[in-house]
């Protein structure tokens, strides 16, 4: 079993090594085929492990495979050990499953790109790092994966680095991630100081042993918030979300994999993994829920007026991540994981679909220049529609079940409240609206494309779309709500590991919540239909009534500009001061002064070297006389 687990991790690494050495010399699709094959093999092995674990009783469902001792420094003992339990298994299956579909898609999308092999090296490296993140049995290993995916994100966002803006987008992502990582590290240090260990299982036993003895609530809250700070960077929440829209500069499959399905969910995973720690601090959980829902609605407001299809999807990702954080903030860890899984399906589908559109239109990303693609791109159209319905929360589709679960727990959990719930409903409505807007402007109506006739993507790109569409339709069935009276497979699987909170409302209320969420979604779609398909005049009047808001929304509420003025400019100014004043005047001046002093001294002393023998004789005489004096004095 141990070697099986290690193999899941190492297959992508093998792909990296082989592709980096040989990939460039092979003819075009082979590097991609190798990369896809190793990821798919990891997925198969993950399935094998999954079925083995499934049949074990709950107490035995955690397997920790220790391979070697990484470091032992004083109280810090960290082993390189991989932990398999239901939480990590869900993540592994999503990462490798969706990952291999995206690898397959990339073979078609990145064809004829001169960095073909390099792309697949980075992609496999990303899968490897992400697997370390989810399989690590202790926080340092998780952090290794955390940093690793940040690195791969940088490499892949700035993949076409000859374009300076794309390279800068990669840089922005990495730097903002780093800020979050600093918080994360401090949180780790605090955990080590308070609990003496960083291993998840040991931490869990420590905490259940310690709560009776009294743990400082402020310390735990501080730890939780610091770790969450790291999560805001990685998972693009307020205040560190600004890198995600810029990250759309990378190739579309990268956006699908990293910035929709996997990397950005690392923050949510981390909180779910440490749920036993977060439960101890209701304050921290309240803050997380508040920030999560605030981000959700904020991003949804921005998404409503963006014209770049990928930017809409990026803000939509931020918004859905806000939902996930809201879920864990109210204590519904399993619901958060559920939404993570379904979101991976439909967001990857939406991104890949948009990639298909962009590929067909030879690089056009502005939805105002698209339209009427329903007939020319039938498969893309159908799958994209499935994705839109899934994200909007229309029943039967996957998103409905997971989003409904989140809203139900926000309403009913002991940690939830009505304010958060109403924000959740409003955001759901907005989500449906802007997604339908994108769908309508891209696929419906009169074609606004000029010049050529777009045709459907090759099979390597269409096949993943179809598979993901299927998963978006059926994926929700693993987590059915109670009133359907079919066992909720996912929650039973996750039962002792990712819990659900205690609920304060009766189960009848669940019907009401479900009804309202569907109602809100249908209203959103309806308004979208009116505005963008029927071209209703009400659109103009509403835009005028809300006058400053639409332009604020279009300009992303000026967050980037604010950060630039508040943080970046002072640092740049300080750098200038350091250079012009401190370095040039003080340091160089000081060193030059020191050198100049010695130069002056030596030029004064060199006057002794007259070249005149007699002066030398005189000096010798004076020296001898002094010597004689001192000898005879003593």
């Amino acid at each position: 079993m141990n070697s099986l687990i290690l193999a899941i991790l190492l297959f992508p690494l093998v792909g990296v090594l082989i592709n980096s050495i040989f990939g460039r010399r092979w003819p075009e699709p082979w590097a991609g085929i190798l990369a896809t094959a190793v990821t798919a093999s990891s997925f198969l092995l993950g399935c094998i492990v999954f079925f083995k674990i499934l049949n074990l009783p709950t107490t035995e469902q955690t397997i920790v495979a220790t391979y070697f001792n990484w470091m032992s420094v004083g109280p810090l003992v960290v082993d390189f050990a991989l932990q398999i339990d239901p939480i990590s298994l869900c993540m592994i299956l999503v990462i490798t499953g969706v990952g291999s579909l995206i690898h397959l898609y990339s073979i078609g999308y990145m064809a004829k790109d001169k960095g073909f092999a390099r792309y697949f090296v980075y992609l496999n490296l990303f899968i490897f790092m992400m697997l370390i993140l989810v399989m690590g049995s202790s926080l340092p290993l998780l952090f290794v994966g955390w940093e690793g995916v940040g690195l791969c994100s940088y490499l892949l966002i700035g993949f076409w680095f000859e374009d300076i803006t794309k390279a800068q987008a990669g840089k922005k992502a990495f730097i903002i991630n780093r800020i979050g990582d600093a918080c994360f590290l401090i949180g780790m240090f605090l955990i080590l100081k308070t609990f003496g260990t960083l291993d998840f299982l040991k931490l869990q036993t420590q905490i259940s042993a310690l709560t009776s003895a009294g743990l400082s609530l402020t310390t735990v809250t501080a730890i939780c918030l610091l770790l969450f700070g790291g999560a805001t960077g990685k998972s693009a929440q307020i205040p560190l979300f600004v890198w995600l829209p810029d990250a759309m500069a990378g190739p579309t499959p990268v956006s699908a994999l990293i910035h929709a399905a996997t990397m950005v969910t690392a923050g949510v995973y981390m909180i779910i993994r440490l749920n036993f720690l977060y439960i101890l601090s209701p304050v921290a959980m309240g803050i997380i829920a508040a920030i999560g829902f605030a981000t959700a609605i904020f991003a949804a407001l921005i998404a409503m007026s963006q014209n770049d299809i990928k930017k809409v999807l990026a803000y939509s990702t931020i918004s859905q991540l806000g939902f996930m954080f809201g879920a864990v903030g109210v204590g519904a860890f399993a619901a958060g994981l559920f939404h993570l899984i379904t979101h991976a399906f439909f967001k990857a589908l939406l991104f890949l679909g948009s990639g298909s559109v962009i590929h067909a239109l030879h690089g056009e990303q502005d939805i105002q220049k698209m339209g009427g693609l329903k007939k020319s791109l039938p498969i893309t159209h159908a799958t994209f529609l499935v994705g839109v319905l899934a994200i909007s929360g229309i029943p039967i589709f996957a998103g409905f079940f997971s989003k409904d679960m989140i809203l139900w727990f926000t309403a009913s959990s002991v940690y939830g409240n009505w304010g958060l719930l109403s924000v959740g409903f409003i955001t759901a409505g907005f989500t449906a609206f802007y997604m339908f807007r994108v769908y309508a402007l891209t696929f419906l109506g009169i074609p606004r494309v000029s010049g050529f006739h777009p045709h459907e993507s090759p099979a390597s790109m269409s096949l993943p779309l179809i598979v993901l569409a299927f998963l978006s339709i059926t994926g929700g069935f693993i987590g059915l709500p109670e009133w359907v009276h079919i066992p909720n497979f996912l929650f039973e699987f996750l039962e002792p590991f990712a819990k659900l909170p205690d609920i304060t409302l009766s189960h009848e209320a669940e019907y009401i919540v479900t009804f309202i969420s569907v109602f809100v979604a249908l209203i959103g779609i309806g308004v979208g239909y009116l505005f963008f398909v029927r071209q209703s005049k009400a659109r103009k009047s509403i835009t005028t009534i809300l006058r400053p808001l639409p332009s604020w929304s279009f300009n992303k509420f000026y967050v980037d500009e604010f950060y630039g003025k508040a943080f970046v400019s002072p640092i740049m100014y300080f750098a200038q001061v350091c250079w012009k004043f401190i370095d040039t005047v003080i340091i160089d001046g000081g060193v030059n002064l020191f050198g100049g002093f010695w130069k002056k001294t030596s030029s004064i002393l060199s006057n002794l070297q007259t070249g005149n023998v007699q002066s030398y004789a005189l000096l010798m005489a004076i020296g001898t006389l002094l010597l004689m004096y001192f000898v005879f004095k003593g």
């Binding site: 060199s606 070297q609 070249g611 007699q614 004789a617 005489a621």
Partner: protein, 100 residues
């Protein structure tokens, strides 16, 4: 009769005079002569002390000093002639290549 103290004072005086000559004169030959003066002063001191100590070893040493002085004078004058041929001057103030 014990003249040795007077002789020694004389020797010290001639030595100091020769020393002053080395430091004050510019002509290389005159400096050379001053050095000879200093050597002679030393001879005088050696002789007078050997007289005081009733030992003839001092006088033998004087003999050696004179021999060395003769050899040194020969070679030194040869050097001065070589310098004169090369630089056309034996004024020490003009022979300052080591300055700086």
């Amino acid at each position: 009769m014990d003249y040795s103290k007077v002789m020694l004072i004389t020797s010290a005086a001639i030595f100091a005079i020769g020393f002053a000559g080395v430091l004050l004169r510019r002509n290389a030959l005159i400096i050379f002569m001053s050095i000879e003066l200093m050597l002679n002063a030393v001879n005088l001191a050696l002789a007078s002390i050997s007289f005081s100590l009733n030992s003839l070893d001092g006088q033998v040493f004087v003999f050696f000093v004179m021999t060395v002085a003769a050899a040194e004078a020969a070679v030194g004058l040869g050097i001065i002639i070589a310098i004169y041929k090369n630089r056309k001057t034996i004024d020490l103030y003009d022979l300052r290549l080591l300055q700086g």
